[in-house]
């Protein structure tokens, strides 16, 4: 099948083709899934190098799972979110205390703020990441899946193996903690302009 036609196939169909030795499916899945997996790992770890290692490991596990993948039983993305979370939790437990304190976030440089809406947005993203790094693991995972990845609560509950009510509780507590952590930064990061 040509690349263009294969490109539109859903993840599980591509995975079946991958297991049959289709090189085009391997390339499409790599280009489609690596950015998602990498971004999710980064949000859970706050470290780019480690996030890349986790992304590679998670996808290697997916390739190995391909021959026995049962289409329709689980979404590939749901499976990957779960594997990434487990790998990230393992790494954080091994290297406890490696997160960047919120005070270490680079401050926007004086005199450049007016010219740098892009920089301000970047600073917000960095500030949020640093605050996320300080949340308990489960709260961080729930907040990232809900508010950055944009998943619905039932899917998050499936990924985290908890009830929907537990997801709501985790996201609620996580957001309260984030608000508290970012309270002192909202004005300087331009949050006051958004109200």
């Amino acid at each position: 099948m040509p690349f263009d036609a294969t490109e539109d196939l859903p993840d599980d169909a591509l995975l079946a083709r991958f297991a049959d030795g289709d090189a085009v499916a391997a390339r499409i899945l790599t280009l489609r899934l690596t950015p998602r997996v990498m971004a999710h790992a980064y949000r859970l770890l706050g470290n780019r190098t480690e996030a890349e290692d986790v992304a590679q490991e998670a996808l290697l596990r997916l390739w190995r799972q391909a021959p026995v993948w049962r289409a329709g039983e689980a979404k590939v993305s749901t499976w990957l979110y779960r594997v990434v979370a487990n790998l990230c939790i393992d790494r954080r437990r091994r290297a406890r205390g490696g997160s960047v304190p919120i005070d270490a976030i680079p401050e926007p440089e004086d005199g450049q703020a007016s010219a740098a809406e892009q920089m301000q947005d970047r600073a917000r993203a960095d500030a949020l990441q640093s605050a996320l790094d300080q949340l308990p693991e489960r709260q961080r995972q729930a907040v990232v899946l809900r508010h950055i990845e944009g998943l619905a609560n039932p899917e998050i509950a499936d990924i985290m193996d908890v009830t929907v009510e537990a997801v709501e509780s985790l996201t609620s507590r996580g957001k309260r903690a984030l608000s508290a952590l970012l309270a002192g930064r909202q004005e300087e990061l331009g949050y006051a302009d958004e109200r």
């Binding site: 780019r48 390739w63 608000s179 970012l182």
Partner: protein
């Protein structure tokens, strides 16, 4: 956007989540190359395992017979017996077709021949 704007405005985090989505870290070319390399290597293994699985039943039967007979010592004895049997089978008719041995073999139970003939 996963939440309504109103919800996000209430907790004051909407702009931060928007910024995080806008600044997703992109995978490096090196990571993409490593992932694709893993994928291609794994495809080779998957293909080899699938081929091995189709050949396994035949190899498995031979393996089972070999083990059932007792491994290589038993196979050596069995081979010797087969060779000896073939040699005897091909050499014996030539030996009995000549001389006194042939007469001895014919005359050894003449009464049995008459008894059998008398039944008809």
């Amino acid at each position: 956007m996963p939440m309504s704007d109103k919800d996000q405005d209430l907790d004051g985090l909407g702009a931060f989540f928007d910024a995080a989505r806008a600044h997703s870290p992109a995978p490096s070319p090196d990571l993409l190359a490593r992932v694709l390399s893993d994928a291609e290597a794994e495809q080779v293994w998957i293909t080899r395992r699938a081929q091995a699985a189709t050949e396994a039943p035949r190899a498995g039967l031979l393996e089972q017979l070999y083990r059932l007979l007792g491994g290589w010592p038993a196979m050596a004895g069995l081979t010797t017996a087969i060779v000896a049997g073939v040699w005897i089978g091909t050499a014996l008719p030539e030996g009995v077709s000549s001389g006194a041995e042939a007469a001895y073999l014919v005359d050894i139970t003449p009464e049995a021949v008459f008894e059998l003939a008398g039944d008809f």
